[in-house]
Amino acid sequence: MSELAELAGRAVERTVSAGAGDAEAYVVDAAQREVRAHGGEVESLTAASRRGVGVRAWIGGRVGYGFGTDLSAAGIEAIAARAAAAAAAADEDEFAAVPAGGSPAGVPGLSDPTVAEWPAARIAELALAVERAALAADPRVAGVEQAVYFDSAERVAIASSAGAGGEHESSSCYAYAQALAQGDGGRETGLGFGLARGPAGLEPEAIGREAAVRASEMVGSAKPASRACPVVLDATVAASFVSLLGNALGADAVQRGRSPLAGRLGEAIADEAFVLRDDGLDPEGFATAPLDAEGTPRRRTALVEGGRLQAYLHDAYTARRGGAASTGNAGRSGYRAPPRVAASNLIVSPGEASLEALLGEAGEGVLVNDVAGLHSGVNPVTGVFSVGASGRAIRGGEAAEPLREFTIASDLVSMLQAVRAAGSESRWVPFGGSVSVPPLLIGEMTVAGS
């Protein structure tokens, strides 16, 4: 047994000794690096190791959580005592119980050796190369606010008094740049990004170029007139909405009456062109792991097919409460908070049409390349949203002049029902989750500008 698994086991044992009927421990040990580059210089270089443990304690149907970074015997003891005391302060919940776990499938290829192999100087050079590529791609690019490289290699161990758990390791890295373009008396920004399991998988040229193109094509942008019209969401924007949809599909939000999809299982909620699944085992997905955050095997779950809502996302708690099986969708953002229902990799099936064909089908409308204010402009309970946007006008079926400072407004279900086509070019997007999605053509949405 590894040191990490032993630590997890000991934390479970100490928590039960502290008065809990059942306990579960999650231990993470991660190495992370970050490079920030600007103006041809490395602005900062960060290297870090982080370790921590989070413990759930059950006393009957009462649940508490304790966490900490002190992994000495005394430290574990204190964390166990905290978790047990927290459980004692909670109210009884008849559905709360330690998860039973299960046997995971092996998922190879989650760790890339180049994360460990590339020294600091080489990843710094990668970040600088991203910046150089952005500056070289278009004469209107006046600067790059920041080019960033980040990588992480982590090992996770889970143990519980019910025998659930296991251990796995994974690595990931990303790079992005925010380019500044100047022209027509205005300044524009554009984001380019890429992600991979290790630095060898990143393409600094392409990342820099994307930032430059996105910033430059916005030069000279103006507000569109307010109207309702066809809208094409590019893959990054579609991903943001799909990630919101993932939250609405969480059984926790559904059971507590805080989801626009509550009570709609089996109903038509989308156009048939929109097909969505959650797949915690997709070899390309960045949320892929053999187990979810509470030791239940990850799996593949059809969510929207034939326009109908096929399933919600469950963890062990919501599964018991809803009389369903866990879909292996317990997620967590680290050891500082207990697991909660979360999508793993959300995947929208690509369609047949290229982006050009989608624009052609839209005819007259708006292509949205970026949205802002998603955390404040969306009501998660009703799905009603109004968010800031920028992009291009669509005229005669082609991308035309750049547009800024407008909003698009609708609600999630109306938007899904108005999907007319999914594009053919899918892309993995890491904003607010792990999402693979093509551009989407929406038949009609409200655009508010001047």
Binding site: T189, G373, V387, A409
Partner: protein, 464 residues
């Protein structure tokens, strides 16, 4: 006070700084932190999500030739700290530089009357039950209510190669309520928070009013019509309405954006950016406020900085690194989320100073417009100045009066235009709490203002 007990021994700090500069560098710093806290929530009238934790660790920074080398570790053992120092210095190949001897500087942490960790968990659970009951009592249409309580204490100690040794002891307490009202197919939400750099005394005076306010907002919205879309005069409410100034101006004044030319306020120091009726501040010393600390996360004392004086831009917000670059003193705005982060220029409590007219007078002059009573939040791109705000409580203004409620509205615009278009600031000044995210770091900030009127702004609703 001097330093929090047992956090950073001066002799060890000196050794760590020495090690950090072993291969050269102009500056080194060690930031040690012990943080702990607990939180709980009530949902479906049941106490749940009871969580408690404690973390400690340190970050070591070496600055050499304009590059910051940073390493952090979980744990405060001398060996951990030296390991971090070694890691931070590992990419450097220069000659050893010599840190100055450390001299402790006194600081005065925000006073805490009633330490939250001394209040039993049962009392906190009872408080949440009070919130739950009061919120639900506002009307039978309240279908859901969640309330949360959180306390956190951060003890920090900072030592640097210029001889500074300082510390702070920060306690923050906050409650938040979210209510959901339902009438048939209509579902609306309302939220309210109360927080401060204070202890449990924050909650002595009718905390359940927070729940009543959240529930009332949700109930009001049940009668709301779709928000208008288009350009019109907008009046923004006091308190959290200050998030508008925070987003559209405050971020653009942070010196890192300015120095990269990624702020619309770059090169505008001394220029008129607003009407003369507007003055604004960033003040990290406001007693008990959510964004207040004794020192910033580089050891500089927090201060009250005037950023706009009678409509003219008079100061940016600086951390140590950017201040040095501009040849000015740090304004005490070098903040970090934790020992795991590098300090960057951040706001503390940012506000528009109160004006003369009453809110009624400010609204009374609007024939047809939009009243944003409170926001769900906002976002800005400091480089372009484009911003967006989600309105969670909005109303129409018709004939100088606030009339029917609207839902689903967003305000959108450009900083320079919108700031210059502020043509009235009312006298009803209030501060509110917020969590501000930048560069992957979240820090507590205060926002404040009285009612503010913007002559024209785009409202993004669904009613074209």
């Amino acid at each position: 006070m001097s330093l929090p007990q047992g956090l950073l021994d001066p002799a060890i700090a000196a050794r760590v700084l020495d090690r950090a500069l072993a291969h050269g560098g102009e500056f080194a710093e060690v930031f040690a932190e012990r943080r702990g806290g607990m939180s709980l929530a009530i949902d479906e009238s049941r106490i749940e999500s009871v969580q408690a934790g404690a973390e400690q660790g340190a970050g070591v920074r070496v600055i050499a030739g304009g590059t910051a080398y940073f390493a952090y570790v979980d744990g405060l053992d001398p060996a951990d700290l030296e390991r971090a120092a070694g890691e931070a210095a590992s990419a450097l190949r220069g000659e050893r530089s010599e840190p100055r001897p450390l001299r402790a500087v006194a600081s005065t942490p925000q006073p805490i009357e009633r330490r939250p960790e001394d209040v039993p968990a049962e009392r906190k659970a009872e408080l949440l039950r009070e919130l739950d009951e009061r919120g639900r009592a506002q009307g039978g249409e309240i279908a859901q209510l969640t309330a949360s309580y959180a306390e956190a204490r951060r003890e920090v100690a900072i030592a640097n190669s210029e001889g500074l040794l300082s510390g702070d002891d920060r306690t923050r307490t906050r409650i938040g309520v979210q209510a959901v009202a339902r009438r048939g197919e209509r579902v609306e939400t309302g939220a309210e928070t109360l927080g401060g750099a204070r202890g449990f005394e924050l909650l002595e005076d009718d905390p359940a009013a927070v729940a009543a306010s959240a529930a009332t907002k949700a109930l009001t919205l049940l009668d709301a019509a779709a928000a208008p879309a288009g350009s019109m005069p907008v009046v923004v409410g006091g308190g959290f309405g200050g998030v508008l100034f925070h987003e559209m101006t405050g971020h653009g004044l942070e010196a890192d954006h300015v120095q990269k030319g990624a702020s619309v306020y770059a090169g505008k120091l001394g220029e008129r950016v607003a009407k003369p009726l507007l003055s604004a501040y960033d003040d990290g010393r406001l007693p008990g406020e959510w964004g207040s600390d004794a020192i910033d996360d580089e050891g500089a004392p927090t201060q009250k900085t005037k950023v706009i004086e009678d409509g003219r831009l008079v100061s940016y917000l600086y951390d140590r690194l950017r201040a040095e670059r501009d040849g000015v003193a740090s304004t005490g705005n070098g903040r970090r989320e934790s020992f795991r982060h590098l300090p960057i220029p951040r706001m503390t409590n940012t506000y528009i100073a109160p004006g003369e007219p009453t809110p009624e007078e400010v609204i009374g002059e609007v024939e047809k417009g939009f009243y944003a009573a409170s926001f769900a939040g906002g976002q800005v791109d400091p480089a372009t100045g484009d911003f967006v705000f989600g309105v969670n409580e909005g109303y129409l203004i018709e004939g100088g009066k606030v009339t029917s409620p609207c839902r689903g509205a967003t305000l959108i615009g450009n900083c320079l235009d919108a700031l210059a278009a502020i043509d009235a600031v009312a006298d009803d000044f209030r501060m509110k709490t917020g969590m501000c995210g930048k560069g992957g770091q979240k820090v507590p900030v205060g926002t404040g203002q009285g009612h503010v009127r913007i002559a024209a702004m785009t409202v993004g609703g669904t009613q074209v």
